[in-house]
Symmetry: C2
């Protein structure tokens, strides 16, 4: 699947593009079937909400789950990402974000690229996020708020904040990278910058049925409110980086479920892969 | 000002009605001018958000502030309230809710009447809330979510919850009524009930420019998410009760800034009162 020149131009100017119902109901159902097992997995790859009772995110499941592995190499994600980044791509990061009904918490205002620049030594922002909606995203269940065009201003080099002063971390003894994955983001933007950007560029909250895909640039400023509604808002977020944009070799890189070690160009799978594939044996 | 028969019927069925731009920009400006002083007031009538740095609500300012006193008796609020309640009304409660940009917190799912029934001995739900928008209410700044038609199911007699188990209250030494005013509502509804009601009745989030007024029935189930946007969402909330619906005489009633002691029928002021009135002297 290719997107149109107009869509590529829209992305270049606005920093995002929404493809409504990119995946069919049957494909979405095949993806959703995998979620309960992934959320039940008790491992470092799973991050819980502050209150401890809801899953917030699970990282790197494309490496362990066959269906999600196929999604990461799906032509309906990979080809548009290649078009918009202007080159071949690899999976930089893969996660499932839960934003559970009655409990999904805030994502503070931030840009994605700064985390990867600071923590992984990623040289450039040639990374695009593909957000695959596994539930309908509506005005009630904590949709992503994006500041359109904010990517054009480059990286806002905010000082590392970590957990707010005085707050005690539920992850007291966890590795340093955990603070990038919780509601208290390490590189969140200050209010003045966000307010100025919104005055200048406005604010959007792309919504759509399950199966829709929202692409956005890794320098787009974004955040999302909590989810008090009875509607879950599960999304899969695949971050594709251009193959000439790879992390610096570090002594202590973040775990491979946060930063892929495989920089080879993705060879997309067949368009019907999610349906033709049967559940892996031995489960 | 009178509302139409269709609007009254809509209210009876849906439990709410929105009157767009009921007050002019100049009237809104006159009201907004009063807000900073009210929020700056350090008294028990002021409730702060959990994190301590934002004002959440200020109660009873219609008794101390002349402009807000006029609003509480304004015909564009009082006459529709009388039409919808079918009789004369008095002010049961009056508050300004801040829902500040970058900090306004959640209001959990609840009905208003149960608080007044349990805490004040108010015999019936013949109370209507008039929410006057002092800022534009949009999809980003934490609008009220209402379950339309939920008032028809009557009161859900939930057990008093108070602060969640294990949580320490920032209001440790405060009077008991404080827990009704914070984000941890004493009579919040359980998830199952809310989910069932939304499946049955749907969910709405009335939005509008500053000056719009949202009326809703005291048994309508409602809540609101946090406000991560750069847009403040200040509203004035006047709760009108029918004059034949007054609290039981209690030994220790809640303070008069939470429950009015004056049950006399309101005599509406002149329609132009907010503009003809000049700022009170001595300030």
């Amino acid at each position: 699947m290719q997107i149109t020149k107009e869509q590529v131009r829209f992305f270049e100017e606005q920093g995002y593009v929404l493809l409504p119902e990119c995946f069919t109901r049957r494909e979405v159902a095949a993806l959703r079937r995998e979620v309960p097992a992934i959320f039940a997995e008790d491992s470092l790859r799973r991050v819980v909400e502050k209150d401890g009772s809801f899953v917030r995110s699970v990282y790197g499941s494309h490496m362990s789950n066959e269906t999600l592995g196929l999604l990461a190499r799906h032509p309906r994600l990979v080809r548009p990402a290649m078009q918009m980044l202007g080159g071949e791509v690899y999976v930089y990061q893969f996660k499932v974000n839960a934003k559970a009904s009655f409990g999904g918490d805030v994502w503070e205002w931030h840009q994605d690229y700064i985390f990867w620049m600071k923590e992984d030594g990623l040289p450039g922002p040639q990374v695009i996020n593909a957000v695959v909606f596994l539930d309908e995203v509506n005005e009630f269940n904590g949709p992503l708020y994006l500041i359109p065009g904010s990517h054009a201003e480059g990286v806002f080099d905010v000082a590392a904040g970590g957990l707010p002063g005085g707050a005690s971390s539920p992850y007291g003894s966890s590795p340093a990278w955990i603070s990038n994955l919780t509601a208290d983001l390490k590189y969140s933007l200050d209010k003045e910058t966000v307010a100025r950007l919104v005055r200048q560029h406005g604010l959007v909250a792309p919504k759509g049925n399950a199966g829709s895909v929202l692409f956005f640039h890794s320098n787009v400023v974004h955040g999302s409110p909590n989810n008090i509604s009875p509607f879950d808002r599960t999304v899969v977020l695949v971050s594709f980086s251009r193959t000439d944009n790879v992390p610096a070799p570090l002594k202590n890189p973040r775990p491979d479920f946060l930063v892929s070690r495989n920089y080879e160009a993705i060879e997309p799978v067949a368009d019907g892969a999610l349906l033709s594939h049967s559940a892996p044996e031995g489960r």
